[in-house]
């Protein structure tokens, strides 16, 4: 069974469109994250939810809006897509505690044309 899954795996869209990426985890974790990996493979945290409460909101354009319907799901909605949004987006989850070991999804490659 896949622990952290993301859909879709690939997403190609035009500038100005609105799109969503979905993430689900079946590990029973209480905290989920979105990361962005740029073309140089650098990974940066975007958002985090703990039990449906937003706990991390980095300096991300407000075109990006996370939504957590329950603690097993964390979706990412992006409005008015721009060329610079092209990247790989990773979802991750953890059980809040001392180690904060995170489990990552397979990633969603977003290409904006």
């Amino acid at each position: 069974d896949t622990a952290v899954s993301q859909t879709p795996k690939y997403l190609v869209t035009q500038m100005g469109n609105d799109k969503s990426i979905k993430c689900e985890q079946n590990l029973g974790h209480d905290t989920m994250y979105w990361y962005k990996q740029d073309s140089k493979k650098f990974l940066k945290i975007m958002f985090s939810y703990n039990n449906k409460e937003l706990i991390i909101n980095e300096t991300v354009p407000n075109r990006f809006s996370p939504k957590s319907p329950d603690k097993a799901h964390l979706n990412l909605h992006i409005n008015s897509l721009e060329l610079g949004d092209s990247a790989v987006y990773f979802c991750a989850s953890t059980q809040r505690g001392d180690a904060y070991e995170q489990y990552f999804g397979p990633g969603t490659r977003l290409t904006v044309t």
Partner: protein, 115 residues
């Protein structure tokens, strides 16, 4: 504030020779440190973690890392490289002070393994 510096952006070794990937960290708190691996077009997989227990940490696939507080280092090693080890490796520190589990990634080291 926490930060991580991976000292080499690219490391090339021959199959069967040792691997050393270097990482220095900066942390205001006793850190949790991780090494993650990313194979081409794949997600990230945890190799090993340090959480203030034993300073020599053993991970999967024969990898080890040693936490050296005096040197603020957490270098990753493997005695003998395999072709399948070719991947991107990330040294990561957890921002324990914020109690959010926020991970701060190094810039990554690309490991090339030559036959």
């Amino acid at each position: 504030a926490q930060s991580v510096t991976q000292l080499d952006s690219h490391v090339s070794v021959s199959e069967g020779t040792p691997v050393l990937l270097r990482c220095n960290y900066s942390s205001s708190y006793s850190p949790s440190l991780f090494w993650y691996v990313q194979h081409p077009n794949k997600g990230l997989q945890l190799l090993l973690k340090y959480t203030s227990a034993a300073t020599l940490v053993k991970g999967i696939n024969g990898f080890e890392a040693e936490f050296k507080k005096s040197e603020t280092s957490f270098h990753l090693t493997k005695p003998s490289a395999h072709m399948s080890d070719a991947a991107e490796y990330f040294c990561v520190v957890s921002d324990r002070g914020a109690n959010t589990g926020k991970l701060i990634f190094g810039q990554g080291t690309t490991l090339q393994v030559k036959p």
